[in-house]
Symmetry: C4
Subunit: 274 residues, 4 copies
């Protein structure tokens, strides 16, 4: 009994953590299997391959489903709190990785199962999460969180611009030039403001082209706004590994990580407790 517990614990460390060589190897293999299953999904969607190799691909897919099912059962088995795992975010993603393979046994039209099969991709983040990249992602996240409000202001302004310009173009150009409704006009305005410019709908009237030019120059210029916001926040987040403590002498707020004295006035930052 004791040795079984011990074995379960070692399995837990290997599957759920990545500090040990075995854990890292497990993560690496899992990553490869996930990527391989994604490649199979993609190949299966290509018409000429699907027609000739549908059976082979289906067998491979069953193989992957079996592997993921085995992994899911192992995770449930070795997890100290199986229910909590099952209803966690990654637990549900792990479950979703198995579902389409089982459903495909009953439904032949697997078209809509595709999206679920692609969701397996999210499992990549579980593997990456346990890596040194986490800290970098945290930097990015904290910069994004810091600039959230500014980005909302920016997005609301963009939505307003896009609605006003889309309506204007609908009225000016009319449905004979492809602007068949206001939503279509807004779609065009988004295509243009973001400088994508598909070219499926283009202004034909001189006035429409003048307004388009306005939209384009606006879109070209205001890209500076989210960039500026994010850059400034990121520079903050990166500089920010500093000690936050008001100096008793001069109220200087930020200090070197390991400062004992203020670099501006030389006051001792903390008193020795004796």
């Amino acid at each position: 009994m004791d040795s079984s517990n011990n074995w379960r614990e070692r399995l837990y460390v290997m599957i759920f953590q990545s500090d040990t060589p075995a854990g890292r190897r497990f993560d690496g293999i899992l990553l490869l299997i996930i990527l391989a299953s994604l490649v199979i999904v993609m190949l299966d969607s290509i018409d000429s391959i699907h027609r000739n190799y549908a059976d082979v691909l289906a067998y491979i897919e069953w193989g992957f489903t079996a592997i993921f099912l085995g992994e899911y059962i192992l995770r449930l088995y070795c997890s100290p709190k199986p229910l909590r795992y099952a209803f966690s975010f990654y637990g549900l993603v792990d479950l979703l990785a198995i579902v389409p393979g089982i459903l495909a046994l009953y439904y032949s039209d697997a078209q809509y199962l595709l999206i679920i099969r692609i969701i397996r991709m999210l499992r990549i983040f579980r593997v990456l999460k346990l890596s040194p990249y986490l800290k970098q992602a945290n930097y990015l996240m904290s910069a994004l969180r810091g600039s959230k409000q500014k980005i909302v202001v920016f997005l609301v302004s963009v939505c307003t611009l896009v609605t006003v310009f889309g309506t204007l173009m609908y009225v000016i150009e009319g449905s004979e030039h492809g602007f068949t409704s206001i939503p279509k006009g807004i779609y065009w305005a988004i295509v243009t403001l973001t400088t994508v410019g598909f070219g499926d709908i283009v202004p034909k009237t001189p006035l429409g082209q003048v307004i388009s030019s306005l939209v384009m120059i606006t879109g070209y210029s205001i890209i500076a706004v989210p960039t500026g916001i994010f850059t400034a926040e990121l520079a903050n987040a990166m500089r920010g590994e500093q000690l936050q403590h008001d100096c008793p002498g001069c109220q200087k707020k930020n200090h070197e990580q390991s400062a004992a004295f203020c670099s501006r006035c030389g006051s001792q930052l903390f008193k020795k407790v004796e």
Copy 2:
């Protein structure tokens, strides 16, 4: 009389301010109604919906007009200075929100009323204005104001580039390749410089393609300019500024961010606390 005044005052606080729960609830409901009226305008512009549901949508539109009319009268009633409100920016926008509904009774061709109906969207900003987002918008605004002159210089340069390149392309490519006039050439140059690239007009001659490449690389590179301007200004606005501390020697008020000594008289700004 007194109770009526009291009631008016409470109405004023609810409608015009957003510090109280009632005020916030009022703003929330107004925001939803504005968005709903915008959705109706958009749906009405889709041909297939207009043909089948024109009557229903017209009734709903009348409902919104009635609500906005009621709101406008209430605002006039509870405002301490009704005339000043009526001629303020938002007072006029509030009035414009009612006009198209009334005009639509007399004119059946509501095409050009659409733009006025879309202007209702500006009322969203009234609601947002009274929110914690204001401060963030202020940061952005102060950064934009600080970089105004630089941005004018940038835009004048862009206009010059676009005119010169547009004329060049008109002369080189000529009207057989779609460059039918200088304004059209300028329109193409804007489409290209802003990296939108619709593809409705494209250079066909080798020389034209060489110049296009020049325009594209220019456009690709100079996007750095407004971004750089705005980022630098925003970083300034966020980093904020100088050390505010009266020098004990000469009362100089502003110092370098990290000054330990006054740069005017050399006095030590802060005493070491021991």
Copy 3:
């Protein structure tokens, strides 16, 4: 003689400088005339207008030529060193503003004169040069100058990328998909890398689309490079109105513009000369 000289001097101040109200008014009127002449050039290039109003536009053009001729003679007359003015950059631009009007008397095919007529636009910068915007333009210029070498490295890398990718696509896609030669492939690579994306030439083969994806993601990412370079330089240029002087005590290099003492060690920066 003396009064004539006096008059010439006052004319010089008015025409060449913009410190006086008369000088500013002169600049303003000149700016309007230049813009009007540009509008005439553009209108003349539109086919339907040219067919109906060619004569009227030609008369107006002659009028502008006469005005610019008069201005040129006045500038020559009141300039203290007429020859030096005549061969300066703006002197030549001023001369070029007159040439097309005179040449048009002899040549009816004014197509190629268009570019010269558009060059008048450069005169706008003469007017702007004498304005408060100059300082802002200087900031931008010094930032560009500071990042010149980095930008050369960047552009050489872009050229290499574009040549390699263009050749690859020419070999992979071949002339049946529009990649008729290496220069065409390079043109496509520029269109794609700069994210313009006209869509006149698009990859059709799977391998071509994979490489296109690579080009696009590269182009999407390396836009960060010029932006980063310019932003960092501009932030430097803006911060940079500092005193450059080595502190005798601590060798600190940059000080507040008007610093008398070092803000780090309190040493007097300059010795009183007696």
Copy 4:
């Protein structure tokens, strides 16, 4: 024998280094020859030129091959360690510059030799490497190296986004609107997210256009991420660093940029000079 060695040494300095006038002149001429050989390759790929001047171009190509062969032999001859040179990166590139000319004697179908001939371009970097631009490239490189991990996180996120959106669009739009497979959908998502927007595949269904709008706004916004990362890193690399000064109290070597006192022992770092 001695003079031969001397001569070899001087040749080595001239060919491999660029500190002497002779070395710089050699590099300049080599750069011109490389560029000329690239131009020939490009001209040869244009159909109309190839048909008329194939022979002339082949002779010129042989000339270039002879020159590069001569240079390669000289490099081998004067190099102190010929084998080490031959297997170095640039040694192999130098060899590759000769190969296609020799292979072309046996194979008439030189199509696939094109890419090798274009690889000559890499030799440009050898010339540039020996220039003052090196330091600038180093700045860029150190900024890129510093942001490597963040950029990997960013690219993995972009790949996930692109896969999920591409699959969604494949399911929604289907092959009748050009989304014939998931890889094609991913290709479209890359074209759209990077704001290239060729327009060869465009969404037709309303739901597809809504999701496209999402992809475009995402792509338009997250360009801020690599830009922010790189700018912040570059600003770090340029601002450079910390104050290098031994603390008189504790010999701590690195201090905050503007420190007046040591943050470890509180000693004043610099003495006031009086």
